[in-house]
């Protein structure tokens, strides 16, 4: 990690030396990511007292899981289905991707509980609630297409189970079949994640603009 002094932030209060003096070198180094580019200008450096609780980290950890899913997903897509279905390393990476998806929903639900229980959806923050809800609902769709894009027996069965239940309905115009593995993989890798990313960025921007909601 580069020495924080070399890329000091504008405020002396948040400088490396000030932070070392405040709470020691270890913590100052560990938190450097929030004070250096590219995050230095994005993150607020202080938070309300009441938000110093792990409950308020759940949204951030959900985003972290999204980052893990993206990174592992890029690797999986690069090396392809034969690799992730047959190579031990590929199978392990696919396993990590699978568990990160479980964790994504786990932390997202905890975040949802925190937001609801503290009334953080009230007033103008409803728009943020709307975007978060869209992330949850679209995330469930991404989960389904991830299952379809796995390429194993369960992908085959769920493709037909969901096809016969849902996608043969006339309002889908018969243009898409989950039985087509190529379409499933493209939707899972290149369509839904891009929309999810845009929604998450919108959600984070609103949180940045509106700040942490005071518990009601």
């Amino acid at each position: 990690m580069a020495h924080p002094d070399t890329t000091e932030t504008t405020s002396e209060v948040h400088g490396y030396r000030a932070r070392v003096a405040e709470h020691g070198r270890f913590r100052a180094v560990m938190e450097s990511f929030a004070y250096l580019p590219p995050f230095g200008g994005m993150f607020k450096k202080t938070s309300p007292f009441y938000a110093e609780s792990y409950w308020y980290c759940m949204g951030g950890i959900t985003f972290l899981m999204f980052v893990y899913l993206t990174l592992s997903g890029v690797l999986l897509a690069w090396l392809g289905p034969f690799w992730w279905l047959t190579n031990p390393v590929g199978q392990a990476l696919k396993g990590t991707h699978y568990w990160a998806a479980q964790a994504f929903f786990f932390f997202l639900v905890l975040h949802l509980i925190r937001v609801w229980a503290t009334g953080s959806f009230r007033g103008r923050r409803w728009l943020s609630w709307l975007l978060g809800s869209a992330v949850l609902l679209l995330g469930l769709g991404e989960n389904l297409f991830g299952l379809l894009a796995r390429g194993d027996w369960e992908s085959q069965f769920v493709a037909m189970h969901s096809d016969d239940m849902l996608f043969v309905q006339p309002y889908f115009f018969h243009l898409f079949s989950p039985a087509n593995f190529g379409a499933d993989l493209a939707i899972h890798v290149a369509v839904i994640p891009v929309i999810l990313f845009a929604l998450i960025i919108g959600h984070l921007t609103l949180v940045r603009l509106q700040g942490t909601a005071r518990p009601l």
Partner: protein, 342 residues
Amino acid sequence: MSETAPGQPATPHAAQAVRQPAAEPGAAGLVTQHVRHAYWKYPIIALVLAVLLGLLGALAGSPNSPRATIATTSRQDPGGAALAFTQELAGASASAGNQQEFGLGPPGQVFVTGPLSSFAPLLGGNVAAALAAWRAAPASQQAAWANNYLMALDKITPASMEGGMETAMSPDYAKIGTLRGDFGPVPALVKADVRLAQGGHLEQYLEARDPGHTLHLSTIWLYDHPKLLNDAVANGLTDDQWGMVKERDYPVGPWYLIIPAIIHVKLPGGVTGTGFVLWNLLVALIFIFVLPLVPGIRSLPRKLRLSRGIARYPTPGEQIPPDPNARLDPVLQKELKEEGLA
């Protein structure tokens, strides 16, 4: 992730100020409400989670059941393959529901007459003649032949097990030569297609027929064969609508309960695609509009004082003065005033 409320100034040396009593002089009211955010914990949390995910991925793995292929399925259960081909010719297969899908077409043509035409010179025997007879017959005659054969197949099909599982039994292929009736060329077509399927040639044909199907046609055919659904039933994957979220050998976590809470409802008319879509739309509307906007419902967390178990409150000896700069947005102020909660 925590952020500062709007209008809050950055707080010099906020961490030191946290434990100062409320009576401290100066601008204590401005600085003690906010503390330096504990960003140093985030890399540790990220590392712990990365290690945990890596261990789970390597040791617990993820669902990875071997794919079904047309060849193995047809070799394991040739009677089911014969049943599927006959249903396709009769227009009574599951794939008839997919007929309108882009790139598909009549299942009898896609899965039976199409591949047989392509392989006829290699198959020899009476296949070319059977195909010619089939094509020369009017549609009503084709349907009569195929339906007669379907009924005959039913006579060599074992009765389904007691208990009402929604499984389809396959005809006994060893007895298929004993069937007699007005079947036209159907038996010859079906038996030749079973040979193609068992040899793996049908799958090759379906993948190579047009570029871009990418298992599309193969998977649709596998659902015509009873084995795919029977295996799913045997693994408990089809009870009602659980198939979407259940994983073979991998019980899903309780956090997925939100999914059955949304989709697992038996509608009066049974499970239909339209009912499924409308029900999910209704749940989404409740979630997005009713829960956060309807007076009374939106105030539930406040009335139940749920935030007491979530937000951090001062420990004994830790006095945090009220934040004079904490302002509620005008919309929320109005709502709270209307509800007498301001």
